[in-house]
Every structure is written in structure tokens, then in C-alpha cells.
């Protein structure tokens, strides 16, 4: 378990101070893939660098199972009540693997030598190192690239080498700093499945930093959303997707869902979403407790309204379905109201975005009803 309490880190630049991490508390359970998402400058990279003390936080405590409690006193790290030496910091870093956006392999070393880097000068014999490196290269599927230099590898292969290198010293935790941000979609997917395999097979806890919601969606178990150095929202990936609370979270969620197009349509005031008098533009969200029933057609039949579906999206997150749609609903006023009420009673979240009853031209601002 990683427990972060009231962590602070401020960078003092020439003209200004940047509070990269503010009063941040977070608990990361063993064996999970924990996503941290935020825009650039939100402090997520600093947060992850504080975990292995690449950045020394200003204040706060970090408790890591197998390491102990690191407490910051006057900007200096203390481990279990004793001032932490440089050597202790280095030893601690050996127990935490890290991978980077730009791989950061040593260009003048072969794949073998890169993976062997954390093993050398640690009292292991040549034989032991050779055996371990072979195991790791087999794990990441690059056993045939042993004597190749990084410049001869593709981006995805480089990241595989980096993962093998990060795992060499058998860490219990792997930090991933935008590890797929420089990769094409195919390589991204392959690297994400590899990370998932590492997590499932070896039980390595993975802290995954990203600005892409798709990455979180595909492999993370829990996610923390960061903004201005703070965690503004935290929960299981499903809950965050199904019911984002904060504006920034909604933005991230909409980037990975077809429904995100709605904002653009609204902005352009597209023909597609103009409502005639008496019609309503609504967004319906179906969660795991209501998907699987034919609620919509039941409601339409029962209350006699029509629905013109404009955008729809449904998917599985960790085995649970989640769906949503945007559509224009028309019919008799009372019936529409009753129909929406029926859906809400059945745990469908129904939000009226434009209400043709208040603005005939359909220019009405969003009128949230629910």
C-alpha cells in the first residue's frame, strides 16, 4: 500500500513559485493499477516523482509497504524517524521501477545492457544477471533483440525494453509517466496490455500517469483526477465514468466517449440538435443497474413519445456496461415529463440540455433539470 498524506511541493522559479502539488492525500492499494489523470501542469508528474524521491517534497508523509514511512521535515526526507541518507534514497529507488514518455534508454548500450543496468554493481554474478535479463526480455517479447541497440528499435519496442529494465530489480511498484503518450495507437494498446499482464501476473502495483482518458479506461482500476496540484476527484474508473462530479472530470470523460461530440455540436449550434417548439434535447445515461432492461422502448410505448437518437455510446468497463445517448424527444408535454420521470425512477440519469418549451428557436442555454 502507498499512503500519501498532505504532500506539498513548490518549485521556486526565477519570477514565480509554482505549487505543483498541494495538500495531496491519496491511498493506493497493493496490486492495483492506479491511474492519475490531469492536464499538463496539473502536477501529476511531480506527484509520481515524489513517490520515488526523484523530487524531494517540501512537506507531508509517504508510507510505502516494504520501505517504511518517509516524513518530510524542513524539506528533508526522514525514514522511520531517521534522516534519510543519499544511499538510503538510492536503495529505495531500486525498489520502485519507473518508465517514461521518451523511454530514456541508454543509446550506446545494447538492449541487454540496458535491461542489465539496474542489476549491475549490486553483487549479482554475471550468470545471474544474464539469466534475469533473458527472463525479462522473454516477458516483454524481445528475446531476439538482445544485442540490438535502441536506435534500431521502434517506439513500442523501446518502451518494452524500458519496462523490462524497470522490472529488473523486482520492484513491487511500477511508476509509469505518460508511458504511451509518444506511441501510435497500436503500440499504445500493446504496451497497455503488457502493463496489465505485469500487474496481473507479477502483482506489481502500477501508478499510471496520463492525460488520456482512453488509457485510464482501458487498464486502470481506480483513478484520481488532478487539477492545479490537487486531487479533485477519486474513485473506481467505472464510477468516475458513469458519474463525473467535477467539470474537469467531465471534460476528460467526454474526450473518450462519442457523447463528447455534443459540446462541439452545441458550440456550433448545429442543425442536428436544434429543437422545435415542444421538443427537448436530452442526455440519458444508463449505468450498470439499468442497462439490460428495455427501459427506453418501454417508456416510449407507455408514454407515447418519440426519440430521435443523435449520439449514442455504450461500452464495457471492467465487465460492467455503461451507456449514454443524446436525442431529441418529442410528443405531448405531459407525456414527455412523465416518461422522463419514469426513466429517472429506473436509475437512468436524464438531463434536459435544450428545452423547446422555453425557447422556440432552440437557442436556450442548457437547462439542467435533474
Amino acid at each position: 500500500m502507498i499512503e500519501i498524506r498532505e504532500l506539498n511541493k513548490t518549485f521556486h522559479l526565477e519570477n514565480s513559485d509554482v505549487e505543483a502539488v498541494r495538500d495531496l492525500s491519496l491511498t493506493i492499494d497493493d496490486g492495483v493499477i492506479y491511474g492519475v489523470i490531469g492536464s499538463s501542469g496539473a502536477g501529476k508528474s511531480t506527484l509520481v516523482r515524489c513517490l520515488n524521491l526523484l523530487e524531494i517534497p517540501d512537506s507531508g508523509t509517504i508510507r510505502i509497504d516494504g520501505v517504511g514511512e518517509i516524513e518530510l521535515r524542513n524539506g528533508k526526507p526522514w525514514l522511520n524517524g531517521k534522516r534519510m541518507t543519499a544511499r538510503e534514497q538510492n536503495n529505495m529507488r531500486r525498489g520502485i521501477g519507473m518508465i517514461f514518455q521518451h523511454f530514456n534508454l541508454l543509446d550506446r548500450c545494447t538492449v541487454f545492457e540496458n535491461v542489465a543496468y539496474p542489476l549491475q554493481h549490486t553483487g549479482r554474478s554475471r550468470k545471474q544477471i544474464e539469466k534475469r535479463v533473458c527472463e525479462l526480455l522473454t516477458l516483454v517479447g524481445l528475446e531476439d533483440k538482445t544485442n540490438v541497440y535502441p536506435s534500431q528499435l521502434s517506439g513500442g519496442q523501446k518502451q518494452r525494453v524500458a519496462i523490462a529494465r524497470a522490472l529488473a530489480a523486482e520492484p513491487r511498484i511500477l511508476l509509469s509517466d505518460e508511458a504511451t503518450s509518444a506511441l501510435d495507437p497500436e503500440a499504445t494498446e500493446a504496451i497497455l496490455s503488457l502493463l496489465q499482464a505485469v500487474n496481473r501476473q507479477l502483482g506489481v502495483t502500477i501508478v499510471l500517469i496520463t492525460h488520456e482518458m482512453a488509457v485510464i479506461k482501458s487498464i486502470a482500476d481506480r483513478v484520481a483526477v488532478m487539477e492545479n496540484g490537487r486531487v479533485v476527484e477519486e474513485g473506481t474508473v467505472y464510477d468516475i465514468f458513469a458519474d463525473p462530479q467535477k467539470e474537469i472530470t467531465r471534460k476528460f470523460v467526454s474526450t473518450s466517449s462519442l457523447l463528447g461530440k455534443l459540446d462541439k455540436l452545441l458550440e456550433e449550434n448545429a442543425e442536428l440538435i436544434r429543437v422545435k417548439p415542444g421538443e427537448m434535447l436530452v442526455r440519458l445515461m444508463f449505468r450498470k443497474d439499468c442497462v439490460g432492461e428495455h427501459l427506453l422502448t418501454t417508456a416510449a410505448r407507455k408514454y407515447g413519445f418519440d426519440l430521435n437518437i443523435i449520439l449514442a455510446n455504450s461500452e464495457y468497463l471492467h465487465g460492467s456496461p455503461i451507456g449514454g445517448m443524446v436525442g431529441i424527444i418529442s410528443g405531448e408535454q405531459d407525456h414527455i415529463e412523465e416518461g422522463l420521470e419514469f426513466l429517472r425512477q429506473n436509475h437512468v440519469s436524464a438531463e434536459v440540455i435544450r428545452d423547446g418549451r422555453t425557447d422556440a428557436a432552440g437557442h436556450a442555454e442548457s437547462v439542467p433539470v435533474s
Partner: protein, 243 residues
């Protein structure tokens, strides 16, 4: 060969023993001063890189002092440095003339330039690689030897070539304090005695040496870019089992 030399460069033939001796003196100055300056310059260059503000062991006081000393010595023209250092040279090696007396000023003339070049070469190492090595638990020594020096090899070869060529230039000037060498031979036996063939041959010899050094440097630098100098193979025969 001797006949040809006699015909084309009669004056050089006359002083050929002196010429050979001068060449040897230049070679001696070059490798002795070069070796000492190389070691000191490399160490100072490393010191500059690791102690600067965003280095791996920031020590502003050390950085600024080293920086200042290097700047001072770099701004003094070598011919003046030669004269200025005479008392020091005499105190340290006992004499300020001959090859022996030239080594110290040559070192002083080369070290500031070389350490600056080394600093630039090492600064070119991607900070991401340094960070990755830190994340794997490398300390200062590990970062210097396993990351900085290793990754910067092609650039280090390049700057060493440039420095070596400039050092040859300096050795010719050392003739001014009676160190001998090709430079003083060209002045004393060529220019002052009006023997243009001697000057010409000296120029050609220096040209060839410079050309060879530069080609060697370029070749080595290219060979070591994105790869090790010598092929290294590790057997992947041993089948990796379950991790």
C-alpha cells in the same frame, strides 16, 4: 628519398637532424601536455556539469569558483600566458625552457578550453537518461561513469579532437620560450635564415597531422554514435523461464 629531399628542399636536408629532433620535441610536448591536460580537463568538465544549478550534485560555490578560474585563464592569450607562467614553471619543474619547461604552460593553456568543451559535451546528454538512471538507484558516481561519460562518448571524441588540434597550435608557440619543436624550427631555421622550403615543409607536416587527427576523430565519433565502440554480444541461448 634522400636525393629527392636534397633536390627539392636543400635547406631542410642541411638541417634534417634538427628537423627530426624538432618533430620529436613537438610530439613529446603534445602527448605529455595532452595527457595531463586531458585528465585535468575531463575532471573539471565533470565537476562543472555535476555542480551546476540543475546538475546531479548542485554546489553553486564550487561551480562559480571553477567557472571563474576557467574564464580567467581562457581569456589570456597563450603567448602571454607562457611568459606570465615562467616563475611558476621554474618553481614547479625547475626550469622554464626546453620541452620540460613548456609542459606546464601548455597544460594551463589547454585545460580551460578542454574543460569547457567537456562541459558542453556532457551537458548534451539527455536529462531523461540521467533521471532514468537515478530512478534505478544510481548515485553520483554511477551517473557520471555509467551515464554521462558513456553516453557522451561521440561528443567527447569530437571535442577531444578539436582540443588536440588546438594543442598542436600551442606547441608551436611554446618555441617562444625555447621549447624547440616544429614551430621554433620553422622560425629559427626557416624564416630567420630565409629558407622558404623549411617553412613550407613545416606547414605541410602540420597540415597532415591535423588532417589525420580530424579524420580519426570524425571516424571514431561516428562509430560510437548510438552504439558501443566494440561489438558486445550476450548469449540469449539460455531460455528465459517464467519471471
Amino acid at each position: 628519398m634522400e636525393e629527392l629531399m636534397q633536390q627539392v628542399t636543400p635547406n631542410l636536408y642541411l638541417y634534417r637532424d634538427k628537423f627530426y629532433k624538432s618533430c620529436l620535441a613537438t610530439v613529446e610536448m603534445f602527448w605529455k601536455a595532452g595527457l595531463i591536460a586531458g585528465v585535468i580537463g575531463l575532471m573539471l568538465g565533470i565537476l562543472l556539469v555535476i555542480t551546476k544549478k540543475d546538475g546531479i550534485a548542485p554546489k553553486p560555490a564550487v561551480y562559480q569558483t571553477t567557472n571563474l578560474i576557467i574564464n580567467v585563464f581562457r581569456s589570456v592569450p597563450f603567448i602571454i600566458l607562457l611568459i606570465f607562467l615562467i616563475p611558476l614553471t621554474r618553481a614547479v619543474v625547475g626550469t622554464a625552457i626546453n620541452v620540460k619547461g613548456a609542459i606546464l604552460p601548455l597544460v594551463f593553456g589547454t585545460v580551460p578550453f578542454y574543460s569547457r568543451q567537456v562541459e558542453v559535451a556532457l551537458s548534451g546528454v539527455d536529462p531523461g537518461k540521467v533521471e532514468a538512471a537515478r530512478s534505478m538507484g544510481s548515485g553520483t558516481a554511477g551517473l557520471i561513469f555509467r551515464v554521462y561519460l558513456r553516453e557522451a562518448v561521440p561528443d567527447l571524441i569530437r571535442v577531444t579532437t578539436v582540443t588536440a588540434i588546438s594543442l598542436i597550435g600551442l606547441t608551436t608557440m611554446a618555441g617562444a620560450v625555447g621549447a624547440g619543436g616544429i614551430g621554433s624550427f620553422a622560425i629559427n631555421y626557416g624564416q630567420n635564415q630565409n629558407h622558404p622550403d623549411i617553412v613550407n615543409v613545416c606547414v605541410i607536416v602540420l597540415l597532415i597531422v591535423t588532417f589525420v587527427l580530424q579524420s580519426l576523430g570524425n571516424g571514431l565519433s561516428r562509430r560510437t554514435t548510438n552504439r558501443g565502440l566494440l561489438p558486445r554480444r550476450h548469449s540469449a541461448k539460455e531460455k528465459g523461464g517464467q519471471v
